[in-house]
């Protein structure tokens, strides 16, 4: 009862309206996945399951989803490792340039994607002479995903304190054992939360990916982008989007349960 009830009602109404606005376009997407018109004419005059049928048969979409999952997994793993290392370094030690380091970690995500995209593409192709491939996409994605893991782990380490680790050392455990048996389990939920966010970021990323993907690489966003161009393919994209939304509720729910608080999810 820390606020007047009138104010609470106001909040409730605002939140409801906001959620309505958030979900209106998504509902439109769902409706359009059944819309018989290829060009999403509104209001839909005819409903059809044709697009769902086509999506189920679409080899291109399936391959794109798999590529996206592959890229996101790899990028998440790299981000987890590097993010954790950086967080531990920053949280546990005092050193000159701490602020600069945390700024550097944020930079890839704070700078507009197009800048990161063309900078990395230029570096890969012109400076290093590499060919663009799934690996270059992974490198690009990992770069801006580090920050999500970093934030989560940092917050968790701050709450954890060093007490337990010191106790473990006092009891004779080596540093690596302490990490394996004490630190890591305590960080696990933060890692999962951070990892899930990193996965989501990488999965839906289009801007940086456009510049760092090789000629044959199609992540899902690239597939969507290309198919919105093509004749007869636009509506299938809606179907894919609906499927993604439905499927995504599961990992979010899982992450929620594990993280307990929002510190995990706020790391973006």
């Amino acid at each position: 009862m820390v606020m007047s009830s009138g104010f609470k009602v106001l909040l409730r109404v605002s939140a409801a309206i906001a959620l309505l606005v958030i979900y209106a376009p998504l509902l439109l997407v769902v409706v359009n996945s059944f819309n018989a018109s290829q060009t999403f004419a509104w209001p839909p005059t005819d409903l059809t399951l044709e697009w769902w049928r086509r999506a189920a048969n679409s080899q291109g979409a399936r391959d794109a989803v798999l590529t996206s999952i592959e890229v996101a997994c790899l990028a998440t793993v790299v981000a987890l490792v590097l993010g954790t290392m950086a967080a531990m370094a920053l949280q546990r030690y005092r050193f000159f340039g701490r602020d600069a380091v945390s700024l550097l970690i944020i930079l890839p995500i704070a700078l507009p994607g197009i800048v990161t995209g063309i900078a990395l593409a230029n570096a890969f192709k012109t400076v290093l002479g590499l060919e663009l491939s799934v690996l270059t996409i992974v490198v690009a994605h990992a770069t801006f995903c580090i920050v999500t893991v970093f934030n989560n782990v940092l917050a968790r380490l701050r709450r954890m304190g060093t007490g337990l680790e010191e106790a473990s050392a006092d009891l004779g455990a080596s540093m690596f054992t302490t990490f394996r048996l004490v630190t890591f389990p305590m960080m696990r939920s933060a890692l999962i939360a951070g990892g899930l966010l990193a996965f989501a970021l990488s999965f839906d990323e289009i801007i940086v990916t456009t510049f760092t993907a090789g000629p044959r690489d199609q992540t899902l966003p690239i597939w969507i982008f290309q198919n919105l161009f093509r004749p007869n393919q636009g509506p299938v994209v809606n179907v894919i989007a609906v499927v993604l939304i439905l499927l995504s509720v599961v990992p979010i729910w899982v992450s929620q349960k594990l993280a307990g608080t929002t510190e995990g999810l706020a790391g973006r």
């Binding site: 060009t39 004419a41 679409s58 090789g214 000629p215 044959r216 161009f229 093509r230």
Partner: protein
Amino acid sequence: MFHRPLPRLAAVCAALTLTAACGTSSGGDSSGGDGPGGFTAPDVPMLQELGDGEGEVDVLAWPGYVEDGSTDKSVDWVSSFEQATGCQVNVKYFGTSDEAVNLMKSGDYDVVSASGDASLRLIAAGDVAPVNTDLIPNYADVYDFLKDRDWNSVDGQMYGVPHGYGANLLMWRTDEVDPAPTSWGAVFDENSPYAGKITAYDSPIYIADAALYLMKTQPDLGIENPYALDQDQLAAAVDLLKTQRTQISEYWSDYLKEVQAFTTGDSVIGTTWQVIANVAQDSDVPVDVTLPEEGATGWSDTWMVSAEAKHPNCAYEWMNHIISPEANDAVAEYFGEAPSNAKACDVATKGFCESYHAGDADYADQIWYWTTPIPQCLDGREDVTCTDYGDWTQAWTEIKG
């Protein structure tokens, strides 16, 4: 890598008025044919003999040109090619000619479907090789008026095989626009009744459309070729386009976007491709198209081979396949353009070749195909320097504001 003879360099410097210093080093030899307007094509070796297929080919194409059934099971002219030649096709799509030019520099692709505004640039940069048409049996059946043209050959040497061509037409909503327009004036009229609902193609090459209109309506400007514009002529075209900008609903480069805009009524009149009109009409949107009285710009696409092709034999096989009657007809019908192979009309669905004016050299001649503007005036004038594509790009940014 810099094949630039000094006279051309001086012309470039003079034309780039916005850039102060432009003293670049010129070096290297420049043997090879002379391109239209006087650029010199670098010496890139041509394949002399067709060997065994390499097992795969990397294709860079306009969306819809290389369909292998993955988007629509019934649309597939790639699988037959893969089975017949053993060359697996890997395709990457691009959205604009400029992207194509950019992507070809990487050397990652063996063959590209280049429109006329990309082909010369690819030749000049040494990114594509001359094509040995003797190695391509189906080339003999290609319409003659598509061979040895300005945009696909240099000094009589072909640099690719013609894919097909189409015109940029004027489309309008029959229920919103009355009377039916017959002139491009309908989109350039500064007091248009359709203000706020006019659409245009989103590329600097659209400046040529404005120039074409000025060519007919303001003959004292002296425009002979809409791609050969000196500073004053470009300025006139830019003014026309800036006026038009105030009435534009949106520019389009994605043709699904244009179909949608016409379906919802956000655009009611503007530049289009035949395929867009067909898709709209299929969805019961009341539109009609016409080739206006001033003529039109258009595109004529050419399949070109990369100078650094890793799979040159499969590349030649692909080019032969895509202009074979069945494949050429299939892609022309899917995309909505005129085929380049005369025999394609033998296998085409009834009425298709007529509606797309396949083989109609007169219709084709009314079309000013996309060509990259260069400082050496394409209309042959020697006393002035024409504006080049860099100028057009700058101008386009200013027009859009």
